[in-house]
Amino acid sequence: MMTRLLASLRGRLRRRRIEREIAEELQDHLEREIAAHQMRGVSPDEARRLALRDLGGLVQTRDATRDVYATWLDGLWRDLRYAVRVLRRAPRFTVTALTLLVVGIGSTTAIISVAYAVLLRPLPYPDPERLVFLAEKDGGGIAWPDFQDWRARATSFDGLASSLADSVLLTNGPVPKRFESRSVTANFFRVIGSTAYRGRLFDEADSRPESGATVVVSHGFWLRELGGDAAAIGQTMSINRRPFTIIGIMPPGFRYMTPADVYLLLEPQVAANYRGMQSRLTHTTLFAVGRMKPGVSVIAARTEMQAIAEALALESTGKVGPYVRVQLVSLSDRIVGTMAPTLTVLSGAVTLLLLITCVNLAAMLLNRATARSHEFRIRAAIGGSRWVLIRQLLVEHGVLVGAGGLLGAAAGAAILTGLIAAAPRDMPRLDEIHLDLAVLMWTTLACAACAGVFGFVPIVKTAGTIMQGAVVRSGRGPTRSATSLRWGLMIAEMAVATVLLAGAGLMVHTMLRLTRVDPGFDPHNLQASSFSLTGASWPDARKQVFYDAVVERLRAVPGVESAAVTYSLPILGSNWWQVFMIEGTTAEHWIAVGEFPNAGMVPVSAGYFEALRIPLLKGRSFDRTDTPDSAPVAMINSRLARRYWPDGDSIGKQIRQGLPADPFGPWRTIVGVVGDIKQEGLDQNTPQQVFLPAVQVPRTTMFAVARTERSVASSSLDQAIHDLDPAIPVFNDRTMDRIMSEAASRRRIAMIVLTVFGSVAVILAAVGLYGVISQGVADRRQEIGVRVALGATYAQVVGLFLRHGLIVVGFGIGCGSAAALAMSRSLKSLVFGITATDPATLAATAALLALVALVACYMPARSAARVDPLEALRSD
């Protein structure tokens, strides 16, 4: 068969030449025959007749020969060209159908590719379902001594490792460069299951003190900073002014949680009490990852770790605190957790959009099929083969869907590029997203199936009835089943539009509520940058002086109204959470209560509250009188004051960080109470906060924040800090407006997508409704003419058509509302300030949709009443 196919393909390419050759050959044959006959004495004309007779006819022979080298491929080619011609002759239908397909296939492919890459595709580590993520209760960081205890006691794991996201300064040259880093335990890479691209990764031997300082670099870092040189392994790099030997390079594209350029060992840092990690009370951003033994389930592991944590708590009553509980989830849940609800909602929405696309396509094809059934009946009656008709239709729909699929793929790729560019920066697995061909094929197949079913089922039926000798009517009316099918499709469209619009309405309402939340400070015209004072050259004394210098320098920049330095910026959360004691209370009291007092600790410079316009409710703010040597003081927020001094005055009371058995710092006097701010985000409750003077509690990395009168370039603020000391890394400059906008990005994306899809759905549903009713009016013109002639009023005629429309709208919105309520759970984590079944919003969107739909019904119904009865009765 292959030889024949190939020969046929070659044949088509050289068709003209072959035909010419055949003709030549046959002509030659004829001439010889004629010559032979003539030699026997026959006349030329008679000779020619005999020759032609013997050959069997010139044309017939040529055709017979041509049929031999034509295969089914030629038939298909012919059908294709015919299909294209037919589609071009109906430009409005073709363009509309193609637009529907492109929109449906393109957007579905793009969004589901994202959802698949982020949510469904397994993580790029070996056996990823055995990896779990551990944190303290509420997802906070783990204390190193706790981690060691867990590791010693746990039996559910092949290995338990931990890591700390950090940043380092590369001090090879005169100007230090800042890079993202991750400090990991020696067994980390073994637990994750990574292998080195070049060289080797950390192993247990590296954690011993006698082995030298080693570092593993990322592939990107190796290319950019080390020139991709194979000899980089074994070289030394200066990190934070200390030498490290490069022992290995990570594979390209490797990422754990956040991207990191260099990987350091955690154990030596702990030995040096980096960030105070040796204390059980210090909770930095250390998190653990474990590889469960085969056969161990997440629940079993969680139960075991819970028991270990409680056992540890019982062993020493002083250890009771809010951090005793363990949080254990699968690693993929942790990585994609925040995105899961948004992506699920978006995937659902886009699938609904695809559904509406298919429904609309189906309705269009149905309309077209019934319009052409007349043509097909005639063709069947004069002997057209049913198979040829069906094949032709299949090819026609195939061309339509194929073209739609190709264009849709291009559109999908474009939309995906746009989505990736617009995605929030911290979106997990962003770099793993690409167009999924499987998704494309599925969506195209869905459209093709719909085209197949709705496009030619009615035609096959009509062609079939003709074969059985039914009478050929000239009527253009559609069959009963076609009409009810159409109405059914309309109801489905209305339902889908209702669901999408309801989702959009809920998100719009949510965003409105969010904008009305009082953040507790003035977020406008605020700019912030981070700076780090790392290394031995920055002892606490120097840091303390530096903060004041920064504030002075920033204030001197033209356009800056006020400036301050802080450890935690509002909206971004608290990065230092600690337990504290209240003077006059006992440890036993708090153990009985169940929880020690705890709060987010925020070192700030004097003038912080003024710069952020946080109201001072009582007492005084930090000022010049607070120095490293003056009395230790603190400020608290209103929420903390209400919680622990509900009746009395907190001013003058004393608190101390840490537990009675393990205090941190001196007793501090509370000197002021400030208003609550949304430290963790607009949609979160205000946490309890303790503010400390930065000069008394200096930290390495701080935010410098400035309120500007008009838009001041962020570079001039960064420059001000650089001017003080060029060796200090200054990074992450952004405005507070941008921070708040990014914090709302998940919800905003959901709102935009749902609104766009909802609008498209409403438009499609309205247009569809309009079309169906217009069609009905056109089909029943005669009947209208009769009714009007017999005295029907305007209202009665309009009502005739409006009735159907109302039923569809009613059913559609009803089903849609029920579906929206059933699906409300998927929006639960996205809505704010309202429930996912907020009746007011749902009612409003349903009403809006009903209004649009009724207008779409009323317009063609009205034109029905204007039908001239004489005209209607006369025609046809």
């Binding site: 007779r53 013997d54 006819g57 022979t61 020969t65």
Partner: protein
């Protein structure tokens, strides 16, 4: 087969037979043009087989498609440009195969036709 009829309903068996005849002719005679093949078939069959000569050309096209014969342009004996056909190695294999089948079929048919009837012959 009456001369001149473009019979398409007695297709497959007759096609196969004709293909066999053409193959054998080319095998025996060597390269030949279409006219010569038609004449030769008439000759050999002693006019029992009166061909619709057009079917010879269809058969030649079919055999070329299947790769059992090849064709090339050359000069005929009366100095005209003519297309010459020649059997290929695969064609020869096919010929042998078909000849064996044909003989087997002929033997079977003979035996069947010799079978005694149910008493009403």
């Amino acid at each position: 087969m009456a001369k001149g009829t473009a019979g398409s309903d007695r297709s497959d068996i007759l096609q196969g037979t004709l293909d066999l005849i053409v193959l054998k002719t080319l095998d025996a005679l060597g390269p030949q043009h279409g006219y010569g093949i038609a004449r030769r078939i008439e000759q050999v069959s002693e006019d029992v087989l009166r061909l619709n000569e057009g079917t010879v050309y269809t058969a030649l096209m079919r055999l070329t498609q299947r790769g059992w014969i090849t064709s090339s342009w050359g000069t005929s004996e009366n100095n005209r440009r003519a297309r010459f056909y020649a059997i290929t190695r695969r064609g020869r294999q096919r010929l042998v195969h078909e000849a064996i089948s044909w003989e087997r079929m002929a033997g079977v048919m003979t035996r069947v036709l010799k079978l005694a009837g149910t008493g009403q012959s």
